[in-house]
Amino acid sequence: MGKTKWIAALGITTMLFGSVLAGCGGGEKSEQANGGSKQGEKVEVTLAGWGGNPSEQKLLQQTLDDFEKKHPNIKVKYEVIADQYMDVIKTRLAGGQGPDVFYLDAFEAPALIETGALEPLDKYVTDEFDVNDFEKPMLDAFRGEDGKIYGFPKDYSTLALFYNKKMFEEAGVEVPKTWDELREAAKKLTKGKDVYGFGVAPELARLYYIAESKGGKVVTDNKASFADSKVVDALQPIVDMHLKDKTAAQPNEVGATWGGEMFGQGKAAMVIEGNWAIPFLQDTFPNLEFGTAEIPTINGKKATMAYTVAYVMNKDSQKKEAAWELISYLTGKEGMKTWTSKGYALPTRKSVAAELGFDKDPLRAPLVAGAPYATVWQNGTNLPIIVNNFNNQFVSAFLGERPLADALKEAEKTANSEIESR
């Protein structure tokens, strides 16, 4: 009697243990089954990215379909990570479940390259791939400190001045060519609290080129240096426009979530936005008449920002050959042409840009024109910490809680102490 009880107990326990263990191990097993790429068997490569608008998704799907047609032995599994993209990617990489190929913003690139989680791509590159065809600043954004390339930029976007044609006509203002003209124009365009002349995003990602326009540096030797008086001087006009002129406002002051929305709703006559705002405005506000122009010059110099995203390969990937095939197609001349053909993003290959002729498109020409002189949004491994502190304190100065110089000084101190204790 006692014996049978024992055996029954043992049986139940092993069963439960077994099912728990099987539940844990299941994912890995099936992964391995896919990983062993035997000849003639289909290899499945996972590609992770953040979703775009539906038309963008369609374009990407088409590019991927083309790729699968040309490489019948490779199947692409496309995963959309809709929210908190980098957190998800980092967690998955740390857990050894990262995708084979994924999007990486230039801003996050240095820190991720430093950890060694990415596969250097130089050894895969062939002459046919033609690396020199890429716009150099965009490519350099994904170069590690060892000089190796860890990702190929899929596209980029620069900033340009968006202006409301109707409001400009009513106010009788010309499209501003210099920053001083913009400030004057904003005064004429402002109508109390209903319409602001200029919509500002008070964050470093959008203000970086202005901050450095007077020769100051936001980041020096991977540390924050934005309390420099040259940087403060360069940014002061933005704060003055908000507090003294009352001609500039940030989107949430008028109940919008971002500049494009503020502009579309007619609450700002001018905003500085990127390529992404063009399809948004055309879809959401079809009656809005707007134009784009190069960003007004500061001290006679042209400047703008460039944001770029690359395809990178997971170092732990089991299917590196297939993953490279995918990257080289997506960032190759053919794949990039399909992907950028509708103008949601601009091609990073000079040959593709020339072929698609975006420099002649009236709305996109100013954006393309900005590429050669643009500052790429990326600077060392500590930029995320620096940005966080800058943004937090800049807002307080922008809202008039304290002088800009004091706010930036404190932000710089906090950022650097955070960096030092890393």
Binding site: T13, L16, K315, Q393
Partner: protein, 299 residues
């Protein structure tokens, strides 16, 4: 005789553990294990991505908290939040429960209405409130209609945390109200009758009968409230899109832990140290509360 007894005992405990083992296994793997690992992390400098490394740094991570300006801001915000939200939601819950227990008309209907906010997930609730808090949103329109000043609830550092407080009091008070309601039904009518005979009015009955009788429940409500508010994360996370802005005004300790754990690379150890510190803080707050309420534990 003695030996057979121990043998039997051994067998019994043995089979008991055998039957318990699946549960113990799950507990160890998913609850005890992570806690031990978090404590381990708190004393190390950790790099989890790419080339994984653990470097023992002793108490450095804890020492770092003292120089971290943002940690101080987060702590201050959290304390402010706890100090305002816990009393408000407790009092509101008690008052709501007392009115619902007074035998008014449509009591059941109001119970349902009051309880509804609790059923919504906090993420959805936050998104709805963000709509209402919008510069052109419902709340500002109402304030304007009654002639009160309007606020930039989402963008102004001075009001952003208050906006979250209001939202949270509104959404958690009904949950505690239900607990109070259950306790109120428990108070014997004879106590009220005796008070009435002594000439007590409604307010005196509430203050001298209801409130003292509810003390153990209040104790429970305050402790749960303390734990919940110290752990404020999702509301401020969604409110500020993960940044704790504007101007660090919605940065809470848990949000800071999240930022160090997932936003910046190589600070997982520091995040674990912060989490450890928070756990100790909640423990102290809870012990203090119990000491102050002088109540034999009933929970």
């Amino acid at each position: 005789m003695k030996q057979t007894l121990t043998k039997k005992m051994w067998r019994e405990t043995g089979s008991a553990y055998l039957f318990l083992s699946p549960a113990l296994f799950v507990l160890l793997l998913f609850i005890i294990g992570p806690i031990v690992f978090a404590v381990f992390l708190a004393f190390h400098k950790v790099q989890l991505l790419g080339t994984t490394s653990f470097e023992f740094v002793g108490l450095d991570n804890f020492a770092r908290i003292a120089d971290d300006t943002r940690a101080k801001i987060a702590l201050w915000n959290t304390l402010k939040y706890v100090a305002i939200v816990v009393p408000c939601q407790t009092i509101l819950a008690l008052v709501l429960a007392a009115t619902l227990n007074a035998g008014l008309k449509g009591e059941k209907f109001f119970r349902i209405v009051y309880f509804l906010p609790t059923l919504t997930s906090s993420a959805v609730l936050t998104l709805i409130f963000m709509w209402m808090y919008n510069q052109n949103g419902l709340i500002n329109h109402v304030l304007e209609a009654v002639g009160l000043p309007t606020y930039n609830w989402l963008g102004d550092p001075d009001v952003a945390l208050n906006a979250i407080m209001i939202m949270n009091i509104w959404s958690t008070a009904p949950y505690f109200m239900v607990i109070y309601l259950a306790a109120l039904q428990d108070i014997p009518d004879s106590l009220y009758e005796a008070a009435e005979l002594d000439g007590a009015n409604a307010w005196q009955k509430f203050w001298h009968v209801t409130v003292p009788y509810l003390r153990p429940v209040t104790s429970f409500v305050v402790v749960m409230g303390l734990i919940g508010t110290f752990q404020l994360f999702d509301q401020s996370y969604i409110f500020s899109a993960g940044s704790g802005g504007p101007n660090n005004s919605t940065l809470t300790v848990v949000l800071l832990i999240y930022q160090y754990a997932f936003k910046t690379l190589g600070t997982m150890g520091y995040a674990a140290a912060l989490a450890f510190a928070l756990a100790i803080m909640i423990l102290i707050a809870t012990l203090l509360q119990r000491k102050l309420s002088k109540e034999e534990s009933l929970y």
